[in-house]
């Protein structure tokens, strides 16, 4: 009740419509500032690094060889729709290519880069005095970091989409050269692309929001980044140790429960399940429930954000 009374007092004198308009303007401003931020450009480059390498490789080796294939295939499969003929093989090739990079995308490289960037949203701004100065302006404190998170969500979604689409296009052009058939093949793997983009983006946002929560307790960005790293490594080490130290069913049960606390595990397992089903090529220490994995990832996105909003409004900014 005390907290409710506190928040009611905080919003006195404000109007919901003007605050929402303000939020929209702040989002626009954050997108503009992010595009000027060198650190963010580094983040985008690191995200697209695997696809850059693959694109260069395919331009040099695969694509020149494929231009003869389309002519040959049209003769061999005369009268038949090539997109139907090669649908299964195409999908398997895309899945193999995605599997090559998923360890990078749902692993420590992107985790570290995301954490470094997200730690600037609160801790970085507090260390320079920017956050505390802006907190004296007529906005809720949440408005000082929510636009940053939203802007980051938009840009990371677009970047992830661009990466996965580019990879599919590379495969498509290697099958069918630069032809309309190559573009038509995209529709055959639409759902597959959507799943990869969705899970990758959710993983990035989970890391982002968890880092933001940790950074709300400190003015040092390094503490927030190390906190996220320590948490991820700690979960992995704990699962591994327990399954070795406690043999049998008990060890398995405890390991499984602990595994759900590891964001990387949750995202990877869920993706493996929805893409490959029972035949997932990704090996796991323990068997997990994919629904709980998805719920855990969603929990890591929403719960840290809610806790950050509530505690940051309430705490003293010393």
């Amino acid at each position: 009740m005390k907290i409710l009374r506190f928040y009611r007092e905080k919003v006195k004198g404000g109007e919901l419509s003007s605050e929402l308009i303000k939020l929209g303007r702040l989002l626009g401003e954050e997108l503009r500032l992010m595009s000027k931020n060198k650190r963010f450009l580094v983040f985008v480059i690191l995200m697209i690094l695997p696809v850059l390498i693959l694109t260069v490789t395919s331009l040099l080796f695969w694509l020149p060889a494929s231009s003869q294939n389309i002519e040959l295939m049209s003769i061999v499969y005369k009268g038949r729709d090539l997109t139907e003929v090669f649908s299964k093989e195409f999908e398997e090739t895309v899945k193999s290519l995605y599997s090559m990079i998923i360890g990078y995308w749902l692993g420590f490289p992107i985790l570290i880069v995301t954490a470094i960037f997200a730690s600037e949203f609160i801790a970085g701004e507090r260390s320079t005095g920017t956050f505390d100065l802006f907190a004296t302006k007529p906005v809720l404190r949440s408005w000082l970091f929510l636009p940053k998170i939203l802007a980051f969500a938009i840009i990371s979604f677009l970047t992830a989409s661009a990466v996965y689409l580019t990879l599919v296009l590379i495969v498509s052009f290697s099958f069918f050269s630069f032809s309309f058939t190559a573009l038509k093949m995209l529709s055959k793997v639409g759902w597959l692309i959507f799943k990869y983009i969705g899970v990758t983006w959710m993983f990035i946002m989970a890391i982002c929001n968890f880092t933001v929560l940790l950074s709300s307790f400190t003015k040092r960005t390094l503490f927030a980044v190390f906190g996220v790293l320590a948490y991820s490594l700690g979960c992995g080490i704990a699962v591994s140790l327990i399954s070795q130290l406690i043999p049998g069913t008990l060890g398995e049960v405890i390991s499984q429960k602990l595994s759900y606390l590891d964001i990387t595990n949750d995202a990877s397992y869920y993706l493996g399940h929805i893409v490959f089903g029972e035949k997932s090529p990704i090996g796991y220490l323990v068997t997990m429930n994919p629904t709980i994995c998805l719920a855990a990832v969603i929990g890591f996105i929403t719960i840290p954000l809610i806790v950050t909003i509530i505690t940051l409004e309430y705490k003293d900014l010393l």
Partner: protein, 306 residues
């Protein structure tokens, strides 16, 4: 006179340590209010509670009738912190534009206002420079500019002349007075430099060890003790007649010159006139002045510490 900021019996504890204890004062509208006190007195803590950055443990603070820290209160305030720092990678104009948006302005409007303010503070041409490339004095000026983006009714300035040279200080003090006199703003000024407060403030509150020692208009406070210097031909007669009067606080003689500190100007002047006429004393020189702020400050702090 309306009150724009009302601080009522406010206390703040950090664990067991009392940073502020039962502080009360009222800031009248269209005035310059000086918040004075030695280092660690609780001035910055009090200001942070007015701004809503920290919550008091007890008491109440109202700004323009709204609870301190609410959106309604913050709409009326422009704030310059004691050590104005900012993200060094932002440009000056980006910062001022962002502040304008936080106050509800559109982007273009905020940008135009930012350019206008940069011209006012003498930093035209620096709008696209990174904040980190500015000198300390320039950063302070930008700090003042960001406090004025929406032309707020209340300005809270914590040590506004820090890092400014003599010319800069004079200019800022002049501008502060102009904001009060010509634009009807209310300024709450926290500073250690008493001479500056004396030049611009109408009212003061003196805080020490988290407690309000005294609060009131500068005129009223300086009348508490007014100092007279009188040169007469028979000082001993005048001294004998005055020394036991209740409105005479201190009396000192150097040759034919008497220095008297009084608490009631009117009574003193009437009495001196009577004595001079009745005792046929010849008067050579008569002058008086109010206590300086430094004298008032020292007196209250010394009394409080005793």
């Amino acid at each position: 006179m309306d009150t724009v900021i009302e601080v009522s019996h406010v206390s703040k504890y950090y664990g067991e340590f009392p940073a502020v204890r039962n502080v009360s004062f009222k800031v009248p509208s269209r005035s310059c209010f000086g918040l004075l006190g030695p280092n660690g007195a609780g001035k910055t803590t009090t200001i942070k509670m007015i701004l809503g950055l920290i919550k008091p443990n007890s008491g109440k603070i109202l700004v323009m009738g709204y609870p301190a820290g609410s959106i309604g209160a913050k709409k009326h305030i422009g704030y310059l912190p004691e050590k104005f720092t900012f993200n060094e990678k932002w440009t000056v104009l980006d910062m001022l534009t962002y502040v304008g948006i936080l106050y509800g302005m559109g982007r273009r409007e905020a940008e135009e206002r930012g350019l206008e303010l940069l011209e006012w503070i003498g930093l035209s041409g620096w709008e696209y420079e990174k904040f980190g490339s500015l000198s300390a004095g320039m950063k302070q000026r930008v700090g003042i500019a960001q406090a004025l983006v929406t032309d707020p009714d209340i300005l809270i300035l914590d040590e506004p002349t820090t890092n400014l040279d003599v010319t800069g200080r004079v200019e800022i003090l002049r501008k502060i007075r102009e904001l009060v006199d010509k634009q009807g703003k209310t300024v709450l000024l926290s500073t250690h430099i008493l001479a500056e407060v004396e030049k611009v403030a109408d009212h003061v509150a003196i805080i020490n060890r988290g407690v309000t020692i005294v609060s009131g208009s500068l005129k009223e406070l300086s009348k508490i003790k007014t100092i007279y210097r009188i040169e007469v031909d028979k000082p001993e007669i005048l001294v004998n007649r005055l020394k036991n009067k209740d409105f005479v606080k201190e009396i000192e003689t150097t040759g034919k010159v008497i220095t008297v500190k009084v608490s009631d100007q009117e009574k003193f002047e009437k009495e001196v006139l009577n004595i001079i006429l009745n005792e046929n004393i010849r008067l050579y020189y008569f002058s008086h002045k109010g206590e300086t702020l430094e004298e008032i400050f020292t007196r209250f702090i010394v009394v409080e510490e005793k």
